[in-house]
Symmetry: C2
Subunit: 205 residues, 2 copies
DNA sequence: TCGTCGAACTTGTCATTGCCCAGATTCCTA
DNA sequence: TAGGAATCTGGGCAATGACAAGTTCGACGA
């Protein structure tokens, strides 16, 4: 039977750590990072205000774990988007993830107040590898053999999709620019296509 | 002489509002947004903990004023960078501002928890206009006459520089990518140039 | 079987912070 | 110069993160 039974009256919660992470994820999704409080989480889960401290050293430790989870899902999304072999598809996945999880994106991007955990490093490197190989396919084996060229183009592509994601999730776009829907996606695809045209006809160095 | 004299013993501070803004700016630069507290600001300036409330309704109001200041300086930087007429130069100014003021950038980008103030709107529209006219110069009057085309290219350019700025200020870049210095700027310029090549040879719609 | 030991959780407490209120002080204008 | 408005002070409240010391529970070994 279930190794973790949690009758309401039980002293031990069963799996408080996982429960905290899950509750924190939805809380961040709904109310944002700032308003996430350990005490309110504890109350939600019906444990005392000090209970979370036994699973996360402090608030930042919880956020770090959340960030790892976000990176994991993000890398998954990128990888799935690249399955088609189209660089374009990966970019769209990137942007879509950002638009669907803006708060998590914000969490992922918070500049290193704490060192990045190994989990986060691993997942972000995974995403980077996916990007690089998609770009390699795009530019063909000859150019891809030049590692400087390859990385340069990968960085440009990354910047483009990252920028598009940032514009749509964080910036108040000028009037007339569609916030969402097929028009928005069309604009984004067009921007990516423009970059890819530049990648195909690279500027003289 | 100085219209704002502030002997230590004076009951009225003289220009507490400006002093708060200035102190907040440097505090954000040094310690980041999160750790900015009204009470510590008040203590720094030698006033009581409730004094700031008479100049800023609440913490968010102070942040909004700070944000307006940031946008003002940002728009100035963009405008100066575009003076050369080179789209390229504007992009570099954009990225440089972000790299020199990462915390302010973070403040500027916080998605609208509060409505954007008129000052912020005005300054960001100013920056957008500068961008659009730089792009118009880039693509020539014929293509620029098509407003859809013009805005589309402007958006792509914006996304590129915005993305580059984000990568360098918020993201842990893969090993081998220079964090700063001429090499970093070279990579950024190369990415922009690649996009501009695409802008010059637009993909078929 | 039983003791004991550690992990999980509790209550209690403290410092910090944002915000509100009542009152004191100073400034300015009519 | 009188009175009102702006500015600032001090006190206080509730929420929060962090810490300390005690309590419950379960597992493991003698």
């Amino acid at each position: 039977m279930a190794p973790r039974k949690k009758p309401a009256t039980k002293y031990h919660h069963g799996d408080l750590r996982a429960a905290l992470l899950s509750a924190a994820w939805t809380a961040v999704t709904k109310k944002g990072l700032e308003s996430l409080s350990l005490r309110s989480l504890a109350e939600t889960l019906g444990v005392s205000h000090a209970a979370p401290a036994h699973h996360f050293k402090d608030r930042n430790a919880l956020l770090e774990a959340l960030r790892a989870e976000a990176f994991r899902r993000f890398a998954d999304a990128i990888e799935a988007g690249a399955k088609t072999g189209e660089l374009d598809g990966m970019g769209v996945s990137y942007i879509r993830f950002a638009m669907e999880h803006p708060r998590q994106m914000q969490l992922m991007l918070r500049e290193g107040e704490t060192e990045l955990g190994p989990e986060v490093m691993e997942q972000s490197m995974r995403a980077w590898q996916v990007l690089v190989s998609a770009v390699a396919t795009q530019i063909g084996p000859t150019r891809a053999a030049d590692e400087r060229e390859l990385h340069s183009m990968a960085l440009a592509t990354w910047a483009m999709v990252h920028g598009l994601a940032g514009l749509w999730t964080q910036v108040r776009l000028p009037p007339g620019v569609p916030k969402s829907g097929p028009d928005a996606e069309g604009l984004q695809r067009r921007a990516i296509a423009t970059l890819l045209a530049g990648v195909a006809h690279p500027p003289r160095r």
